[in-house]
């Protein structure tokens, strides 16, 4: 079972047009981009063929790992909690 299938079991409310995480690849070195693709437990960070960082906010588990992994690069990520009533809702936790 891949991670997309796993995430589909979760309950999410997406805040359309108002992502709680915004990436700024121009502030990242290649190692940072690769780190994001490795650390995200939901696998939401990927790189396209041209090396561009692609981030999909729907499915975010709100763990904060990406923010911590980018802590040494100010401005690389804008990270906030989703607004009230949005984001993941764990039924088990």
């Amino acid at each position: 079972m891949n991670v997309e299938q796993k995430l589909s079991q979760n309950k999410f409310v997406v805040d359309e047009g108002n992502p709680h995480i915004v990436t700024h690849q121009e502030k990242m070195d290649p190692a940072a981009v690769k780190a994001l693709t490795m650390v995200c437990p939901a696998g939401l960070y990927t790189q396209d063929d041209s090396g561009k960082l692609v981030f999909e906010v729907a499915g975010c588990l709100e763990c904060g790992t990406c923010r911590v992994a980018m802590a040494h690069l100010p401005g690389a990520l804008e990270w906030n909690h989703p607004r009230a009533s949005f984001g993941v809702q764990f039924r088990y936790g």
Binding site: A35, T65, A84, G93
Partner: protein, 429 residues
Amino acid sequence: MADYDAIVVGAGLSGSTAAYCMAKAGLSVLVLERGDAAGVKNVTGGRLYGHSLEKIIPGFASEAPVERKIVRERVTMMTEDSCFTADFHSASRFADPACASYSVLRAEFDAWLAGKAEEAGCDIVCPAHADELLEENGKITGVKAGDDELTAEVVLLADGVNSLLGQKAGLKKELSPHHVAVGAKEVIELPKGVINDRFGLNDGEGAANLFAGFASGGMVGGGFLYTNKESLCLGLVITVADMAKSSIRLPDLLEKFRDHPAVKPLVAGGKLVEYSAHLVPEGGLAMLPALSADNLLLLGDAAGFCMNLGYTVRGMDLAIASGQLAAETVVEAKGKGDFSNAALSGYKSKLEQSFVLKDMQTHKHAPDFIEHTPRMFKEYPALAADVFTQLFRVDGTPSKLMLKKALPLISKVGFLNLIKDGLKGTRAL
């Protein structure tokens, strides 16, 4: 005049405990929770050591939604194709509520505890996201949540490991990738009887299993497996610093762990019903923030109250105790009419006199030892596998004495390393 004596940000275990204790003492309390209900943003591995809640709500386990009482403790060293497990089972030795521990699922458990706080007289508003602290003349006067401005004499930040408010208020710095680990977890549904049979348990009894070695791909961290009533929690916890240098993605690593020949049969036939993740503050005292400021206290995960010793992982019992001690501090401050940092700094003294900071002090070298002993996650599991293979393998070639079997294997890792790590480990853990 403030709207409330105290506003608590976050209805997790530390927040709801603090709210419950303050309300019981007659204070007016508001709890703001960003989830649609208490617990829906929270994740545990998990097991709750019950002692600290037992002191606040004696006999809590008879009414709270605990899953199973843990009677079986397993610690496993794992290689790609083997595992060596220490398995300790005793229903009687863990029977006393003072030392009992329970598997729990946070959505249900936190909702129960928040309900207790509400019964005790707190107002709980959810979903309400505390966006920022209100300040007047440099003094914190409350919380802004959406369009609402709510005022209180004191604000208790129980907003979890990603406490952006604690950072903004200057109580704590941004988390270091060396001090936090990322946990990823599957909840896998299985019938009660199947779980009982697979883990050798009676109804109501549970097992906890921690894994070192292959589980974390040799990185600093490990795997876990907890039995619930009718589900298993299977997951990994790996230091963010190591994960950032990894060549395998965290979700793929979890797949490999799940497919390990010793794990696969335990979860076989199960239905994945949820996939979750959370950061774990594992830095210990090295990441201890300022715990109070004028009109402000920091609780639970937000304060980094957590201990991972490899064989036990604790956070929730510390969070609950910190909630109780924060509440005591606030009740005393209310009595004196003084919520300045001088009055609230008694919180830290109370934590120092309690098991929370005493235990973190006792094990203050554990995080450093674990991070800087990579052999624990690679060479030692491999050594255990080789030694036991030698012991148990019978193939008709002339046998050797145990010592002769083990010596060449140990010398591969190095006797000195083994002695050094053994001494350091027993002193740190």
